[in-house]
Symmetry: C2
Subunit: 204 residues, 2 copies
């Protein structure tokens, strides 16, 4: 058994609290200015510390941003969950869910760009291995299954249909936010609806 210092808990919570200052500062900068604008100096300054202090709490910038991303993914998760409360479990509901998802990123393009345009390395230790995956199609598994019962889709096709939607939605947003192609937000929503219709409606 290790020798326990009396106030280990307090120390850890304080340490955790200070870590949060840096994480919140980083998140604010990413959201407002984009991940390209994040710098150790800026984060430290915003958190009220000198620049080198960060290295007392994180091994490097990558680890800081990895932890920041975890927090931001969880926030996205919660936000989407909230926003889809009360949405009908039918085809129009599915359209709505993915529209809400896309909308979130259009309102916060810097978040999408941070998530998908910036390659973070998984830290050796730390990064509490939360999965960080938003499994929208999983959440709507029952709804998707109803299209099997309905006869629109074969059971073995459900998985690829769900995946196709997820892949395509991310592809659309990426194309928009990277200034490639000429897809606009408006057309994205139109294409999204058409695509879901095509994938889920029984062909006559």
């Amino acid at each position: 058994m290790e020798k326990e210092k009396k106030s280990d808990d307090k120390k850890n919570t304080k340490r955790q609290r200070i870590k949060m200052y840096f994480l919140e500062a980083a998140e604010e900068i990413i959201q407002a200015e984009g991940h390209e604008s994040v710098s150790v100096r800026k984060v430290a300054n915003k958190a009220g510390y000198s620049y080198a202090t960060i290295y007392n709490y994180f091994t490097d910038l990558n680890e800081l941003l990895w932890a920041t991303k975890e927090i931001m993914v969880n926030k996205l998760y919660k936000t989407i969950i909230e926003k889809i409360q009360g949405v009908e479990f039918d085809i129009s509901g599915i359209k709505k869910v993915f529209s809400i998802y896309a909308e979130y990123y259009f309102e916060n393009p810097n978040i999408f760009r941070f998530f998908y345009f910036y390659r973070l390395n998984r830290p050796e230790r730390g990064g509490e291995d939360t999965s960080n995956e938003l499994d929208i199609t999983g959440m709507w598994r029952d709804t998707f299954m109803s299209f099997v019962a309905d006869g629109s889709i074969k059971e073995q096709d459900i998985e690829i249909v769900a995946k196709t939607i997820i892949y395509a939605v991310h592809g659309m947003i990426a194309l928009c936010l990277s200034n490639n192609g000429d897809l606009t937000e408006e057309n994205l929503h139109k294409d999204l609806e058409k695509m879901i219709d095509y994938l889920l409606l029984k062909k006559q």
Copy 2:
């Protein structure tokens, strides 16, 4: 009429040649090390010039990289065109085309990341407004149309089917190369085939 200096042509070709030195240097660095590693100094050094000389040929780094991207997109275009020579115009051909497309990026992940993870601003002047778009589905329009004749797809659905494939392919590659999710290259190709089958095969 403007006063014409005798050797305007020669000067322009020389100027153009030197610009190419920089562009080729930038391309090499992007391909080998990724766009994060590009720096004015490195490009200039590789091209055999001092760092500030670049600003005699490009207004800034953004313009240099924009021009670099144009060249790289054209190369991608040519490469794909070559590789799909002789591919059958049928459903397996379509699968092959997009597999080849995805493969290109897996062999050159830094190119994909440069194209889609790095936001360039369209320069005020210059950037000869080449469209820079690789319209794979357009190239295979006739093939897609054959699925109309075949009865698998309604004519008005052709467009969204083609778009869905393009969107999803980009989404898949982006998810892979940004270290999000757990999609591997192998599974990507499997999903690609399943998706194309689902989208193009007549449901029984």
